[in-house]
């Protein structure tokens, strides 16, 4: 049986005055009922665009979309606006990063829930309202009846996100896409929201896609994780695989930037050096090479493909480093060594390369 | 001085805009004002010889005026526009028929007083006037006008609540020939000993000097229009009087539409909106002399106040049964002249403009410097700036066309002095006079900066520029200020202490045909006052002062005209001011209107003689 949501070779481009933006460049993933997929990447990596495209929300912005998004076997990409709209907010729902700006400031929370319900169900206003209160109660908002008559600005940040979740759940969707659901919240509230999502999934049995820049967010909740970089998936595996034997230098960067108490580090916790590449003028070769401490000359020419990791099922990576080198570097990183000191691990092979390559490698390290 | 300037300002602003519109929309408007230059007036355009009698009776005339009226009380009026209503609704003792600019006829009076008919006695110090017996006031007064009503009309002019603008200058303390009992500075209203009413149809004026001729002419002004004390007296106790703002009674063929109590405010006149003249039911056409009897053809005169002058002008030219009361926009004058020539008239003798130069201080205290300036000034350029030869001619002396003494003092060419000969400005002559003034190079070599203050409205700035060019051409350093016209008078040119050297945008309009009304206030030394001064050049020449005093007392018409022409000559000889131009007044009417212009005033429509075709 095919998965509930199956994204195949999705490509999304935008025409702008500066050139064509390749926001999503051939990504594939799937998620099934009761399962949680984490999509992880920095901002600007295209992770949000892929999920907005799922709902057809990039259509209004003049995006060009190719590939397939199969939902229950139907291709969302090929659907008419109206067909897609009947699925949106109904069978596939979405919550967003900033719950304050995502709720309409001029309407009461209850009203906004009622609107969501009545967009897809012909029920009376009264019935919709009691359903709205029920939903608020479901997401753990105390005194839901009173709260339904309040405006978003009267809610705390966590309450707003709960309200957003309630709204997303209004029509018992089969898929819930949560785009950075906790980023705007403080740490304790983050944990509550994640626990709530987990709890709701167990109760309602929907598929969840959590989009985040923070691997920590998906560590507890996701069943599998896709790491996305410059519009492409660079590593894809089960949560256990990604955390235990990450294969891509970008994933390493993400992992080592999670604060941990159990290991010693010989330098300050730093995010990955450099900035994500322009999606208009993308680098030649591996897109990650300008930021990769271990990049070699041929990696500036050869574009790696997502390939299975030897010895691990359902774990894929797009990296030109040799598997054994990747294993040694990750081991070193886990011991708290700095990427700079581990660069030499990638270098024995460099002797086989030509002299200009060494020069290039130095450049990369800067 | 009567106020004509404001109408012109609005007309010009509107005209400029209309010119822009016309330039966008019309192919026939490409010609410049030069086209209209030097084209002689066609017969219909010159109101001299207009038909007064035997025309169509009845109908309503629509009158457009972008300007509002100022005072509808004849005791307060001085704005030219107010006169149009005053003379249609009230009867002065004497008046000018519309086809004469200078010959008076009896109106409320039965005859012109002369020595022969016993009207002038006591060597010209006493004037006796008999009035028509059956002239009735409109409701609610409804009784015959008596001599006491004329006496009250004049004495209330001194009442500060009325403050007739001419009382002091022509009848009271500052007059050349005051009425007996008005010369005290303390006199401020109440019965005048110099006015006696021996019976209801006789009024006798006693003057302190033999000024009968001048008095008789002055009695053509609205101040002689009768006012019933029984009605107006209580109103005149308010400050300001409400006679003329709330209530009014009429003696003329028309009246401002009123209710039975005489209240017209909000009925026959709405400030800033409209005025409505209807026939005065108490008017009797037979109460006039053989010399003058207004036909009063029209039934109604509906005056619409406000609006853009260029729009109004088009409405009149393209519409029916309408005229414009105030000055048409320049663009409209041009359009009318080119496309509707039978619907425009030009009345000469509508005023003048000159540069008032400071005779009492600064570089122009020297008469030769003034002559040099006169010679250097390009009067033709000024004529052009005013709108071209249709509306202006170069001014050559101080008595302007249409007044007694104009011909005697040189007519249009003016006195044959070298600094007057060339209206284009003559630098050779100017240099000669600069040398005579003690500047050996022919250019000014002193340190003074000439202060020039002019009005910033309409085409006045262009005039200021031409004047400034003349002055700088003579080597003067100048400082030019352009201010609002009222500010120019109130704060600069009318305040001798300010020592303004040149006021290039001042002018004068006669009050009646006697040249005294042109020359006495602006050039008579003793008329200088510290504020609100109208002798802007502070001209105070003992010989000229004496000549004016004598001329004021001459009663024979020809000798009087000659005496004032002589004064004019002295003013020219001293170059007391630098003349700019004589004004003509354009007036426009619809094609079905047989309008009649008052030639004596500034040429505006006379509602008693105008008719529909």
């Amino acid at each position: 049986m095919s998965p509930l949501l199956d994204v195949k070779d999705l490509r999304v481009t935008f025409e702008t005055e500066d050139g064509v933006v390749h926001a999503v460049d051939g990504i594939s993933y799937s998620v099934d009922t009761g399962r949680t997929l984490g999509i992880v990447g920095e901002s600007g990596s295209g992770k949000s665009v892929s999920s907005l495209t799922t709902l057809g929300l990039t259509r209004t912005e003049g995006a060009k979309v190719s590939g397939e998004i199969l939902f229950d076997g139907n291709d969302l990409v090929a659907m008419s606006d109206d067909e897609l709209r009947s699925i949106r907010g109904n069978q596939i729902a979405m919550i967003f990063q900033d719950p304050l700006s995502s709720l309409h400031p001029f309407y009461k929370v209850g009203w906004q829930l009622v609107e969501a319900i009545r967009a897809h169900r012909s029920v009376s206003g009264k019935a919709a309202h009691s359903r709205a209160v029920e939903l608020l109660d479901l997401v753990g908002i105390p005194d839901a009846n009173r709260r339904a008559n309040q405006y978003p600005h009267e809610f705390s940040g966590g309450m707003r996100q709960r309200a957003m979740i309630a709204m997303a759940l209004a029509n018992e969707p089969k898929v819930l896409i949560a785009d950075e659901p906790t980023t705007a919240l403080d740490v304790t509230v983050q944990a509550q929201i994640l626990a709530l999502l987990d709890d709701l999934q167990q109760r309602l049995g929907m598929a969840i896609i959590i989009i985040t820049h923070d691997l920590g967010v998906v560590a507890e909740t996701a069943d599998e994780i896709a790491v996305i970089y410059a519009g492409r998936i660079v590593e894809h595996g089960s949560t256990a695989q990604i955390f235990k034997s990450p294969q891509h230098p970008y994933t390493w960067g993400l992992l080592t930037s999670i604060p941990r108490l159990d290991i010693q580090r010989d330098e300050e916790l730093v995010p990955i050096a450099g900035r994500p590449p322009s999606l208009i003028h993308r680098p030649a070769g591996c897109f990650f090479n300008p930021r990769c401490p271990y990049a070699r000359d041929e990696m500036r020419r050869i574009d790696p493909r997502l390939e299975p990791v030897a010895g691990e099922s359902d774990h894929q990576v797009a990296c030109l480093l040799e598997p054994e080198v990747r294993t040694r570097i990750w081991k070193g990183l886990q011991e708290g060594q700095s990427p700079a000191s581990l660069r030499t691990l990638a270098s024995p092979l460099r002797t086989q390369a030509s002299a200009p390559a060494a020069q290039g490698a130095n450049e990369v390290s800067e | 001085m009567r106020n004509t300037a404001r109408a012109a300002i609005i007309a010009v602003i509107g005209g400029l805009l209309a010119a822009v519109v016309a330039a966008c929309g019309s192919s026939s408007s490409g010609t410049s004002s030069a086209t209209t230059a030097n084209i002689p007036l066609k017969p219909g355009e010159n109101p001299v010889g207009q038909t007064l009698y035997g025309k169509t009776k009845g109908g309503a005339l629509t009158v457009y005026s972008s300007e509002d009226f100022e005072h509808l009380d004849p005791g307060e009026s001085y704005f030219v526009q107010d006169y149009a209503i005053d003379y249609a609704t009230q009867r002065p003792l004497f008046t000018y028929p519309p086809n004469s600019s200078n010959t008076l006829v009896p109106d409320l009076a039965t005859a012109m007083p002369t020595t022969a008919n016993g009207g002038i006695t006591d060597g010209g110090k006493t004037v006796t006037v008999h009035i028509q017996p059956n002239v009735k006031f409109s409701a609610p007064v409804n009784r015959a006008v008596t001599s006491a009503d004329v006496a009250y009309a004049i004495e209330r002019g001194a009442n500060p609540n009325v403050a007739n603008p001419y009382f002091i200058s022509y009848f009271g303390a500052s007059a050349p020939t005051p009425l007996v009992g008005t010369t005290s500075a303390k006199y401020a209203g109440g019965p005048i000993p110099g006015i006696q009413t021996p019976n209801p149809t006789t009024i006798v004026f006693h003057l302190t000097k033999p000024g009968a001729s001048f008095l008789i002419q002055a009695l053509s002004m609205p101040i002689s229009m009768p006012v019933p004390e029984s009605f107006a007296g209580p109103l005149d106790k308010k400050a300001p009087t409400t006679y003329g703002t709330q209530d009014l009674v009429a003696t003329g063929p028309y009246m401002l539409k009123s209710d039975s109590t005489g209240k017209f405010a909000g009925i026959g006149y709405q400030t800033g909106k409209s005025a409505t003249l209807v026939r005065n039911p108490n008017w009797n056409a037979s109460t006039y002399s053989q010399l003058y009897h207004p036909p009063a053809y029209l039934d109604n005169i509906n005056i619409n106040i406000g609006g853009d002058a260029s729009v109004i002008g088009q409405q009149v030219l393209k519409g029916t049964h309408s005229v414009q009361l105030d000055t048409p926009a320049q663009s409209v004058v041009k359009l009318a002249y080119q496309t509707y020539p039978s619907q425009i008239t030009f009345t000469t003798g509508a005023g003048d403009h000159y540069v008032a130069v400071n005779n009492s201080a600064g570089p122009f205290k020297n008469a030769n410097a003034r002559k040099a300036f006169w010679a250097a000034l390009d009067r033709n350029a000024i004529v052009k700036a005013r709108g071209g030869p249709l509306v202006a001619q170069p001014m050559t002396h101080f008595i302007y066309p249409g007044l007694n003494g104009f011909q005697q003092s040189g007519g249009y060419p003016g006195p044959q002095v070298d600094y007057n000969k060339n209206p284009n400005g003559d630098m050779t002559v100017a240099t000669k006079y600069m040398k005579a003034a003690g500047y050996s190079s022919g250019k000014y070599s002193g340190n003074a900066t000439v202060q020039i203050v002019g009005a910033n409205n309409g085409n006045d700035p262009a005039i200021i520029q031409i004047v400034n060019n003349a002055l700088t051409g003579l080597g003067f350093k100048t400082h030019v200020s352009e201010v609002d016209q009222s500010v120019m008078y109130a704060k600069y040119c009318g305040v001798p202490k300010q020592e303004i050297d040149a006021c290039p945008t001042v002018g004068w309009v006669r009050d009646f045909a006697d040249p005294l009304t042109l020359l006495y206030v602006p050039f008579y030394g003793p008329s200088i006052v510290p504020t609100n001064n109208s002798n802007w050049g502070q001209v105070n020449d003992p010989q000229i002062n004496a000549a004016m005093q004598q001329a004021a007392l001459v009663n024979d018409p020809n000798q009087r005209a000659q005496a004032w022409a002589n004064v004019d000559k002295m003013l020219v000889d001293q170059a007391v001011a630098a003349p700019e131009e004589f004004d003509n007044q354009p007036n426009i009417e619809s094609k079905d209107v047989a309008g009649v212009n008052q030639l004596w005033d500034i040429g505006q429509w006379d509602f008693m003689f105008s008719s529909l075709k």
Binding site: L55, L57, T60, R85, S86, I87, R88, G89, N90, D98, S101, S102, H104, P105, F106, E115, A116, A119, H120, Y151, H153, M164 | M1, L17, V21, C24, G25, Y78, N161, A163, N164, P165, I168, S169, A188, P240, A265, T271, G272, K273, N304, I305, G306, G307, D308, S310, V311, I312, Q314, Q315, K318, G319, D484, S486, V487, A490, V521, V529, T531, S534
Partner: protein
């Protein structure tokens, strides 16, 4: 909320007082003609000028004049009497207000009917031919001086002087109580002229506001709910985008009620604007004060209305 409005009203009164003070100072300090001299006419004797000065109260100290003026206004609602016509300022204003009101109300309705749909369509169909055409013509009307537009419209369409005589032109205004039909037709051209510029401004304003609003997160949420686009635009977009427009609208109405001098002049409509203009020309201080105060009052009231409307429109304001 009540105390809030009360506070605003009190502030409004203080502001009106300051406006009184300011106009008073301007008239007393800036060079302008002396009203007593204007009334006295030419060559008036100093005695007469002094008398008039006394009658007009101009001989009192400046402070005293101001005190008399202020107490009359605030205690007796008496704005004084015109120096020029002697009529009470209140009656003059009352006489002129209906015309200004008629002009304003009609123009506002017209420009909203034009400006709002154009603004919305332009924003929704952004960068299309429709948008470019609408915004191009809006720019044209915005840059058109209203007096000039008035003249052009008259020379084109006025029934008496126009090339295509279809509608009543200048000085055709009659009061609504005199003849409602004529009142309506006589105001069509002035309404259009006044509305053209404003509609252009409003369509641009609303377009900008709506474009900004449509990129808000809550619009994305509304779409994600699966709402029809029409509902997203109107219920979520326009509802929020219209708030700044309403602010400007209230202030514009306030300003217009103070008199649309140019439109009133070019169409010869006897409104507050012309009253004010004439009063300035005649140095008629009480009328100038009255009209300026009226205009200030309208603007202050408009501001209060804006604040209340804001509270009504935007719940975030209501509770803060």
């Amino acid at each position: 909320m009540t105390t809030y409005i009360l506070r605003r009203v009190l502030w409004g009164i203080v502001l009106l007082f300051l406006v009184c003070l300011l106009t008073f100072i301007l008239f007393n300090v800036l060079p302008s003609a002396d009203p007593a001299q204007l009334r006295a006419g030419r060559n008036a004797s100093p005695a007469i000028i002094a008398h008039i000065r006394h009658e007009l109260g101009l001989d009192k100290s400046v402070l005293e004049q101001f005190w008399v003026y202020i107490t009359n206004i605030f205690l007796h609602f008496n704005f004084g009497y015109s120096f020029y016509s002697g009529q009470s300022v209140i009656s003059l204003i009352g006489d002129r207000l209906p015309a200004t009101l008629s002009l304003t109300v009609g123009a506002v309705i017209l420009w909203l009917l034009l400006g709002i749909p154009i603004g919305i369509i332009s924003a929704v169909r952004r960068r299309t031919f429709v948008d470019r055409t609408a915004m191009g013509s809006a720019l044209f009307f915005v840059s058109m001086p209203i007096y000039w537009l008035g003249l052009i419209v008259l020379f084109l369409f006025a029934s008496d002087i126009g090339k295509f005589p279809i509608l009543p032109g200048a000085n055709s205004y009659v009061g609504i109580t005199t003849d409602a039909g004529k009142w309506f037709t006589s105001l069509l051209l002035p309404w259009f002229v006044l509305a053209a510029t404003q509609a252009a401004i409003y369509s641009r304003l609303l377009r900008g506001s709506l474009i900004e609003t449509m990129s808000e997160d809550y619009i994305r949420t509304a779409r994600a709910k699966g709402l029809p686009e029409r509902r997203v635009v109107w219920k979520h977009g326009v509802r929020a985008a219209v708030t700044p427009v309403i602010t400007v609208l209230a202030l514009d109405i306030g300003a217009l009620l103070g008199g649309a001098v140019l439109t009133e002049t070019v169409f010869d409509i006897p409104g507050i604007g012309r009253l004010n203009y004439d009063a300035i020309i005649h140095s008629d201080f009480p009328v100038v004060q009255g009209t300026v105060l009226l205009a200030a009052m309208f603007i202050i009231v408009a501001n209060i209305v804006v604040d209340i409307a804001y509270a009504y429109l935007d719940p975030r304001v209501r509770y803060s």
